[in-house]
Point group: C2
Chain length 596, copies 2
């Protein structure tokens, strides 16, 4: 049952009606990404994900990655799958043509990521980290560094990693203590230990390019004293061939709840001698600023994981609900059993999943679209607007997308009944895999703090106010055939405006603002998604009104948007009290009072 | 970090202020269960759970139960733990004195169950099933059957199991096909296969008494044709010694998401010959009715598992939050780190857990208290009232308790950050273990249908109306010092009354009622718990007003009740729309439209 079909029509629908691809192709940067080309690319990516990657998912979970003779062995099926990935050049889609990339918008590249992540989240993380590393290097490396590393990373021949976390420096990156000392030849010697390094070591590529945060001897304390270094697993000779093995080693792998096939490494730098050879990226002490370059991209990528796993689990639950005969539906003859999809409560679970998945997809794709226009729009005002829009949406995509990922995979388990708790069914794996996404790349609590602490105050609050005004106007402009959506969406926006105003009014008591951050993020994300689905419904309705030949797909878009607006959006009112309660009751109890 | 402390004070507080033990000891049946005796019993149970059982939890998860030479081997530590359990007689607490039981109220016995389940859920399931079997046998077995089996089951020397499910008969028990044919000697020969049999085979006891649902040759179809049989693993000779090995075998064990150490067996009856020897319980075709005898008890027991696992995970998260240094709190000096409990968002997670745990505990204990008075009250009206109260509360305890169990263990993982995803930390186990509880013993969807389909209509709706009126009166009577709770609780009750009225008004469209069942259950359970916590807060406040010497425990009860009333109860308003939406949008899409 655990097969995967890429939701091509759903994605194409978003690119047509919610985040128009034509807005992107209107820019000179993306002019080549014509609809037909994109459609073909997505179709091919969907086929690749479903046929080459999806079948590796269960094996990867069952066997995991393992450490052997100082190396990491990935599951057998991964080697072949990666080879196909590399040959097809999927890693190059979003990178600029100057680095042999496809130059496609992030909006399109993210669709490819969604498919591959649905197919196998543990597999997808290797390429994801490489893509992130390339993105960062493009922006900050010297020409010589670019020429040495980036083309082989874009092609997928080499992999990239991010080395930030240390035992005492998780969310608090400023506490990093890994040291980098200048050597006589202009390079550096890096010494220290990093943890939670995704694909820190593996057997899929000939070389691994580690990007490492470390402190120079003269570094000021905190985040202002962190520099970024390139530390290749194998040094690269001037002719591009591989040279000496660098002093960077995997020490151990974590035994995790999920994504078993993704090696999560403890990495040691400079254990054998005077330090691993490292190359400074850009200027000293700029590591945090450099990392921020890719933060939106990386966080959106993780939000997309919540979406992708939810989609995979939903497909499995839907198939099971049609197959499993149990009990009687409203119209089942006595003595017979009906497929459980006939039960209203199972339908509620399926619709809840489908509506949330479409809502998160709309939000994440809008986020990518905003990032694309932030870079590619012809005029500065448009770039500026979309830069801010992306900044606002990123914590929503990351936190709401991944919370929804956990909740929807849990529902998918529930649809399966007892079979959901049996590992062979496969749906439990999605539930386990999904659980990391609210944690890494900035915990969801940190996303919420980022939202209320940095994003709401943009332009003194004016940006968010303008954005909400645009959403209002969009709701007002819905066609009368969608009038059922209007009132609940307006009420949702009322809640958003009321809670936003409360947070703005309490900026002098940041602890009260922080106390409301998590419920506020849920409120805002849900309402934004509701309006985006309504936008899609309006597009579908227009097509229907224009006499489109509909096989049920377009009417389904209207139904799902209505379900989301009338049954999901109203939940936000229930969170308003927690947003505006302040920190007092949260802090009222001492640890002794909290304890049993 | 993963130790366990029984929440003795919390439980004693419930028994004093929310579900008064004195109401139970006022009956002749429970007169002996004096507060001091109960306090001593609970203290001893808490010590036992923490010291003898809790340390077996990780090993059980890591090694699991395994099958070998046709038998099931439980983890090594389980043998010793079970021996101690047996010697202390913990299994006997709730059974009547005539069977060598302790004769304690279920309310007290459930506290013992809570502690043991928190200590090790997988371990607790064996005793839980035995207790359920004894309970059922007490009510339906012949004197000779009772004498043969029950005393050794009460003592724990023998175990009991429930054999209901078959591949085609899960939620739909009426689809059972296992056959029982009369033999010449008055016994029966049972043939068939059962799945998901918890502790169907193991090495902890000398004998296992299987209670098996099967059909006689002349049985009518459906639930009306199911009979109940005793099928012992070893036949019992007239002198009570063990005789021949019966033809019942474990075929395989499920490989599960959680509760790894609890053997979930596929059982074969009569594979080797003409059938396993079985003994009919009571009259033919009464199996379903007999099973119903123990349903409230069993479902409440599962709700208690949600509570117990949430408590265990909460304790671990609280300890971690005090230990882990990361980032700065509002008052941390620059350059230093603070324990993460100083962060408002971590506080929100901890308070959310604590408040839900106390809410579920209040609900589950009230449910047990109602079951106790349903049997033990001196006058029939009181018995009748509490029978109905227990009937109403049981689906709430089971479904809300176990949903909360999943959600709170997820929060506990989140508090741990990256460490939460690493299995060695132990908190991920709670997240995995908790996931079964919303599934077995009637899925939570079935609980919700039971609530709206069978429980709301009791006395034509008058019972629920009266119950809600009592809750209203209780809120009205709160002391002025708790006035902050009054408005949100009344608003919560408004939502309950409004949605209840809607469901009542739509009884002719059962599909619409079924469509609203799950969100309605959440609404009702949350509000009931809110009022119960307010009841406790009123008791605590009274003690404070009377000048009680408080070390912070009583004021914490007031704070938690206020947090629950003002920040959790308001969420119910958000679910009302889904309760009253009807089934139309749930059923609007065909399977093809639901698919990608």
């Amino acid at each position: 049952m655990d097969t995967y079909t890429a939701p091509l029509r759903d994605v194409r629908f978003v690119l047509e009606h919610i985040t128009p691809l034509t807005d992107l192709t209107a820019t000179s940067r993306f002019a080549h990404a014509e609809p037909d080309l994109v459609a073909g690319l997505l179709e091919e990516a969907g086929r690749f994900a479903a046929s080459a990657i999806a079948p590796t998912n269960r094996e990867g979970d069952a066997h995991g990655a393992r450490i052997e003779d100082g190396g990491v062995i990935t599951p057998d099926s991964f080697k072949q799958a990666y080879q196909q990935y590399l040959e097809a050049g999927w890693g190059a889609v979003q990178h600029p043509p100057e680095f042999e990339g496809g130059g496609f918008p992030l909006t399109v590249a993210n669709a490819v990521k969604e498919f591959i992540t649905s197919a196998n989240m543990a597999f997808s993380l290797g390429p994801l980290l490489t893509t992130g590393a390339v993105y960062l290097m493009q922006h900050h490396c010297s020409r010589a560094q670019l020429d040495t590393y980036v083309p082989k990373m874009v092609s997928g021949e080499w992999a990239g990693t991010m080395n930030l976390t240390e035992p005492q420096a998780g969310s608090d990156v400023g506490a990093v203590t890994t040291r980098a000392v200048p050597a006589d030849d202009g390079t550096y010697r890096v010494t220290g230990q990093k943890i939670y390094i995704t694909y820190g070591e593996h057997d899929l590529t000939d070389n691994i390019i580690h990007l490492v945060l470390a402190r120079l001897p003269d570094a000021p304390p905190g985040t202002k004293g962190i520099s970024l270094f390139i530390v290749p697993k194998f040094l690269v000779n001037d002719d591009g061939s591989l040279g000496a093995r660098n002093d960077v080693e995997v020490v151990s792998l974590e035994h995790k709840l999920g994504i078993h096939a993704s090696p999560t490494c403890v990495m040691a730098f400079g254990e054998r001698g005077e330090g691993a050879v490292g190359y400074l990226v850009g200027e000293p002490h700029q590591g945090m600023r450099q990392m921020f370059t890719m933060m939106n991209d990386a966080r959106l990528g993780v939000g997309l994981q919540g979406l992708a796993i939810a989609e995979r689990a939903y497909q499995q639950a839907l198939a099971y609900a049609q197959d499993r005969q149990q009990g009687r539906g409203p119209t089942t003859p006595p003595g017979e059993q009906a497929p459980i999809i006939e039960h209203a409560d199972v339908r509620r679970m399926l619709m809840t999943m489908k509506a949330h998945i479409e809502g998160v997809r709309a939000l994440c794709y809008l986020n990518a679209y905003a990032l694309d226009l932030a870079h590619a729009a012809e005029d500065e005002a448009t770039r500026d607007h979309h830069t801010k829009l992306a900044d606002l949406l990123t914590p929503l995509s990351k936190a709401w997308g991944t919370d929804v990922g956990v909740e929807m995979t849990s529902l998918a388990v529930q649809v399966h009944g007892g079979m959901g708790f049996v590992e062979e069914t496969g749906v439990a794996q999605h539930y386990r895999d999904a659980r990391i996404a609210p944690i890494y790349e900035g915990t969801n609590g940190i996303q919420a703090l980022d939202l209320v602490g940095r994003k709401l105050p943009m332009d003194g609050g004016a940006f968010v106010k303008g954005f909400l005004g645009d959403l209002r106007a969009e709701v007002d402009a819905l066609p009368t055939t969608l009038s059922a959506l209007t009132a609940p969406l307006h009420e949702g926006l009322d809640v958003v405006e009321r809670t936003t105003a409360w947070l703005d009014a309490h900026r002098d008591a940041m602890d009260d603002v922080a106390a409301g951050a998590t419920p506020y993020l849920r409120v805002l994300a849900t309402v934004v998604a509701g309006v985006l689905l309504a936008r899609g419904a309006a597009g579908a309705q227009q097509q229907l009104d224009d006499g489109a030949d509909d096989d049920g797909f377009l009417t389904a878009k209207v139904t799902v948007a209505r379900f989301f607006a009338t049954q999901i959006v109203p939940t936000v009112g229930g969170h308003a009290a927690a947003v505006t309660a302040g920190a007092e009751d949260l802090r009222a109890l001492t640890p002794a009072q909290l304890a049993p």
